[in-house]
């Protein structure tokens, strides 16, 4: 494990992977206007591991959805790897989600009627990859996350950790430059949570993917992220570099 990429300072000279400027996402909820994201500007360098911290309702998930291309900003701009997401059509946004972003969720979001293998290769179906190639790629991705057996099982037959590994394999199958994780360990016990976090960091270090992780657990963020961004009421309140503490002992329970 080379620690080099993690020591890249936040204001690196590398081309920014993410560049958001005065990003806003407002929506109406009945009578009131919710300012989920309210004028956030930030830059994330390629290969960085960033944690988005904040209490629930602070807008961190909304910001993540904007980065993921699942949602469109009300105003402001967000560029990911040189692409202005606000200017993309629905069709282009789906292509962006398919090829450029991988997403991991707190609730895993696997399709219950599909086996592990099928869940992992689903993005390849949308990408119209050939059947044989799909199978090989899915197995490879599952191997990377350490899930070899039980790939014919349905998600409901797996433990939480195994499900999150499956979701991670699915997120990585198209080799995205950006990995977005929304409370990836929220539904896991601390031991399996650590395993998942180690895998995410592996992606960051070995594959060079930029990682943006939403969490409300500050200790977790401090162990893995090189940069901590704090949000409150949709605004960026703090942005500081961090020395990850878990670098030395990857498999350790910490």
């Amino acid at each position: 494990m080379s620690p080099v990429p993690t020591q890249t300072p936040p204001e690196a000279t590398m081309a920014p992977a993410i560049c958001a400027q005065d990003l806003r996402r407002h929506y109406r909820m009945g009578e009131s206007l919710i300012r989920a994201v309210d004028g956030v500007s930030l830059q994330v360098a390629a290969g960085e591991f960033v944690a988005l911290l904040g209490t629930s309702g602070s807008g961190k998930s909304s910001l993540l959805n904007l980065l993921a291309g699942l949602d469109r900003p009300t105003s402001g701009s967000v560029q990911v790897n040189g692409r202005d997401l606000a200017g993309l059509t629905r069709q282009e946004l789906s292509k962006y989600r398919l090829h450029a972003v991988g997403m991991v969720f707190q609730s895993f979001n696997l399709i219950p009627s599909m086996s592990v293998l099928e869940n992992v290769e689903l993005p390849l179906r949308f990408a119209e990859v050939d059947r044989d190639k799909r199978d090989a790629l899915a197995r490879e991705a599952l191997q990377r996350v350490g899930l070899v057996g039980r790939i014919r099982h349905r998600p409901s037959e797996l433990s939480g950790g195994e499900q999150q590994r499956t979701a991670l394999a699915r997120a990585l199958i198209n080799r995205p430059k950006l990995l977005l994780a929304d409370e990836p360990t929220g539904n896991l016990d601390s031991r399996t949570g650590t395993e998942i976090m180690s895998l995410i960091r592996e992606c960051n270090q070995d594959l060079g993917s930029t990682v943006v992780m939403v969490t409300h657990e500050r200790p977790l963020a401090e162990r893995y992220a090189v940069r901590l961004i704090f949000l409150a009421d949709g605004k960026l309140v703090d942005d500081r570099a961090n020395q990850p503490t878990a670098v030395a002992s990857v498999e350790g329970p910490a």
Partner: protein, 476 residues
């Protein structure tokens, strides 16, 4: 997404809620089945009617009469035509001319006369007619007991059922059932009848070139070769011929002719060779003084019923009267077109109800699979992917429903047909095919089911495609 993957995913999704989707599919099946059953019965009935009409000879036969024959079949307007006395005679030359018209298969003279036939030393008076070999296909000979004429010149006779009963002295009393045809034919087939008839022999008038003693060959002389001003003498001689009964028919092959219909049928060539004196010949002596045969009527078989009008018009132009059942069949066909349409509408109603079932099932599926749609979108499914997936599901349900529906409709039609035939049999009637499923109906019904399903899937698929992934993922 590739079509194969799409189908696979659609099938998987349909399997996930087997009961609901099967019920929807059954709904489509019932709709398609009723459509197929209705239309197959409509088509079957129409074909039955067409078959019967073609076989009856009503459909493709034009009867040509001379306008000199004041007894008319048709009710043609007489006012703008030459008076009967000025119109041409129906003779052999005319027959050949008509036979040469386009779309005419054959034109044969209608020879019929009333004469007496002796059976068991007892004379019976009836109408005798010559019929061509081609009449064998007429539906009247479908239930023929015995056999058809061995040749066009054989001294053979086919009897109509009622005449057969008369010969045997078994004429049914009014109100009682007719004796079965087999019972009538058994004692008669193979027996001999003696027919007495009046032979017409032209006697050369003094001063004509006809060689004395030459055999009377009227048809061969080619019609109007002799000058009409010359007078011809006929002599009528009573003659007898022995006829062997070869068959008895159940139905009347000449039902169209009403009172003129014959009850004893002889081969046409045989009848022609007899030179029987006919009323028409008497009437036309002034015109056909040559001794050439004149006919009271000529039957014209038309190749294609659709060309009846053309042929009729051509013959009318020649100055003759024509009669056919064309108008009757035209209105019959119109009736069937309307019948088919109504049956089709009833069938489609069932399919319309089924399509509402598809909409319902798919909308339910969207609600149920909201989250799944959100996931698919989050990992890169485009709007089109989601839309196509729902379309594929509708399409698969439609295809299954269509296939099962056609099978079910086919079975229903068959059952109705079998039941009808059991009923017909009890009534002592011949079994009939009243149901027919043409290939276009099979293909059309399945295609229609799929199209209806896709149409029904339009709204649900759009709704699924438009689903906001953020909201869908939040939904638990």
């Amino acid at each position: 997404m590739k079509a194969l993957d799409l189908t696979e995913l659609a099938l998987r999704n349909l399997r996930e809620s087997v009961l609901r989707n099967s019920l929807t599919t059954v709904g489509i099946s019932v709709g398609v089945a009723s459509l197929v059953a209705m239309l197959s019965l409509g088509i079957g009935l129409q074909q039955l009617a067409n078959r019967r009409l073609v076989k009856s000879g009503l459909f493709d036969t034009v009867v040509v009469t001379s306008r000199r024959d004041l007894r008319n079949f048709g009710d043609d307007d007489q006012s703008n035509k030459p008076s009967p006395a000025e119109s041409p005679v129906l003779d052999e030359a005319t027959r050949l001319k008509i036979a040469d018209l386009p779309n005419v298969i054959e034109a044969y003279p209608d020879i019929r006369f009333i004469t007496s036939l002796t059976y068991d030393d007892k004379p019976h008076l009836t109408m005798v007619a010559g019929i061509p070999q081609s009449a064998k296909l007429n539906e009247a000979f479908e239930s023929l007991q015995g056999s058809f004429f061995s040749s066009d010149e054989a001294s053979e006779a086919i009897l109509q059922k009622s005449f057969a009963a008369e010969l045997l002295g078994k004429t049914p009393k009014a109100g009682t059932d007719e004796p079965p045809i087999a019972e009538l034919s058994k004692p008669l087939v193979g027996r001999e009848l003696i027919m007495r008839y009046a032979e017409r022999i032209p006697v050369p008038a003094p001063g004509t070139q006809a060689a004395p003693g030459s055999p009377p060959e009227q048809p061969a002389q080619g019609g109007t070769s002799a000058s009409p001003t010359e007078s011809t003498t006929y002599s009528i001689r009573s003659k007898e011929i022995k006829l062997r009964v070869v068959g008895v028919t159940d139905l009347d092959p000449e039902s169209m002719r009403g009172a003129l219909r014959a009850r004893v049928m002889l081969p046409l060539k045989l009848v022609q060779s007899l030179h029987v004196a006919q009323p028409a010949a008497m009437r036309d002596t002034t015109q056909a003084a040559s001794g050439a045969a004149t006919y009271s009527a000529i039957s014209v078989k038309v190749r294609n019923p659709a060309r009846m009008q053309t042929v009729e018009d051509a013959i009318k132009k020649m100055g003759y009267n024509t009669f056919s059942m064309l108008d009757a069949t035209r209105s019959l066909r119109r009736f069937f077109a309307v019948l088919d349409m109504f049956l089709g509408i009833f069938g489609s109603l069932a399919l319309a109800v089924a399509s509402i079932g598809i909409v319902n099932t798919l909308v339910m599926a969207i609600l149920e699979r909201r989250r799944e749609i959100g996931i698919m979108k989050a990992i890169g499914a485009s709007d089109e992917d989601v839309q196509r997936l729902f379309f594929a599901e509708a399409c698969v349900m439609g295809a299954f429903g269509g296939v099962f529906g056609v099978a079910l409709g086919w079975t229903i039609g068959r059952v109705i047909n079998v039941a009808t035939n059991i009923y017909l049999k009890r009534q002592g009637l011949q079994p009939e095919q009243i149901w027919f499923v043409p290939w276009w109906l099979v293909g059309g019904a399945i295609a229609f089911a799929i199209i209806v399903s896709l149409f029904s899937g339009l709204y649900p698929a759009r709704r699924a495609a438009r689903l906001d992934p953020v909201q869908a993922l939040r939904y638990e």
